[in-house]
Symmetry: C2
Subunit: 268 residues, 2 copies
DNA sequence: CGGATTATGTTGGCTAGCGCACATACGCGG
DNA sequence: CCGCGTATGTGCGCTAGCCAACATAATCCG
């Protein structure tokens, strides 16, 4: 069937929704609704950014492709955020590329208008900067997670983050694709997903992954998911939050820390 | 011997040096020279930022410490950059901690003054945002590198990045410390460093690592180093660049590494 | 309906890096 | 100049995840 033009509204994107009326009105006429298909490349590595994107139902993904062909996701962008921060950060390009991870809708805004609005130094600017800060947390957490946690844990993290950006609990996505997101082999994903299916947490068939038991994911995921969620909640509190946020027993921030650089990685 | 008060000047920091005269003059009276000792913790995870730091001879490091005690460097900050971006990005804290990786001098600026200056939306702001963008590249490249490259390659990358921030070619640093930076075992570093020493590229003794042959490092390092360097050069071209820059076949010059520090919270 | 395409399952061998448990030796401080 | 504290060297078993080469099966499409 043809892609039916589903109704969407800009305020399905949390950042747009959080804009004060005045700023929103100024932008609204220029928000161009776009349909994005799975696999579409929105930014090529090193290319100039023509638009910024505010997904509503689509999910986007920033990638880095290495010389040897392997790739890793750097960060994902759903209706909680936007794609194209490097525009107002000063470079007009990024060394990463951006692709559509889940087909759907969104809005885009011409680069020049975005920069213009940013330079007004209003709430829009503040919002964008805070979002960027949250994105930085997500990226650095991913770096640490890549290093220290198992594939299954990382898969759980990725599924939860993706789930939070979705209206349903079914991802349209091959294991191959998931593998390229996590930067691992497809077989590795098959194995990890197999374990989760065995545990009754997910079910999958050709190109579809359905989450049956969200709390099952939460019980296996590493701390990284909660850290990212918490930081988003802290930085963008006024922004509508996904239904259920996973925040374990965590009492407060300001944990017991050692005084010098951690020298005993094996101290449990 | 006592730590002799070595002469330093704010323009030894590339970001400060790149400020237009007017903005620099405004800030100068408030730049407070500080001596930072190896191991000092400038920001604790989740703590409030009291100052931003502009290293001149010191090298700082942003870390993330995981629940199981293992840790990874997220980004380093030397005289090419500053510590404390989350201040003007909107959060007043970061989930990461910042420590002194190489003792030395620098300047710090009270948080409030920094924010004030940033809000003037002058060149200072632009500079800070560009720096942040470069930092993002460094972080995401690290994430990908963690995933796809060997320990030796990563060690080379780290050594080169650190070298670029140093006046000499000798790091005061134990293998244990390097290990905690890279997020690997100490024994792994011993092995990797052993290989490099065997190849005549470095020499080390108890707590000292001397780089004998920079080009040797460059020939073994992965692409990640060049990507980061190139991005810094692109985003901060007006900023004074370190002496020798590694950019293989590339015509353009490029170099500048970013780091941020703040010792406000725990001072020994 | 049937064949081509593509996603997933499986297997075996391989290696990097982990964890642990030491041995050794450097060099600072008394 | 001696000695202890700590940085470094090594060895061994182990495991996660890699690489390659398939077998099987679901879906698309003619």
């Amino acid at each position: 069937m043809p892609p039916m033009p589903i109704q969407q509204s800009p305020n399905q994107n949390h950042l747009l929704a959080a804009l004060p009326a005045a700023e929103f009105e100024r932008l609204a006429p220029h928000l161009e609704p776009v349909e994005m298909l799975l696999g579409d490349v929105l930014y090529e590595s090193g290319g100039l950014l023509q638009h910024v994107y505010f997904p509503t139902t689509a999910i986007l993904s920033m990638h880095y492709v290495m010389e040897n062909g392997s790739s890793s996701e750097i960060a994902g962008v759903g209706n909680e955020g936007m794609l194209g921060i490097s525009l107002f950060m000063g470079g007009n390009t990024t060394p990463s590329r951006a692709v559509v991870q889940t087909g759907g809708q969104g809005y885009r805004l011409k680069a020049q208008l975005m920069v213009q609005e940013f330079k007004r130094a209003g709430l829009m600017q503040q919002l964008m900067l805070r979002y960027t800060q949250a994105l930085i947390t997500q990226m650095s957490q991913t770096a640490a997670c890549n290093r220290h946690h198992s594939l299954v844990q990382q898969l759980c993290r990725w599924l939860l983050l993706t789930l939070d950006r979705m209206p349903t609990n079914e991802l349209i996505m091959t294991q191959e694709l998931v593998a390229s997101m996590l930067g691992v082999r497809r077989e590795g994903v098959t194995e990890a997903a197999g374990k989760l299916q065995q545990a009754g947490v997910i079910r999958y068939r050709r190109g579809h992954i359905t989450v049956l038991d969200r709390s099952g994911l939460e019980s296996q995921v590493c701390e990284c998911y909660a850290v990212v969620k918490k930081e988003f909640a802290r930085l963008l509190p006024d922004v509508r939050q996904p239904q259920d946020i996973f925040l374990p027993p965590q009492p407060a921030q300001g944990e017991a820390v050692v005084h010098t650089i951690d020298r005993s990685r094996s101290r449990k």
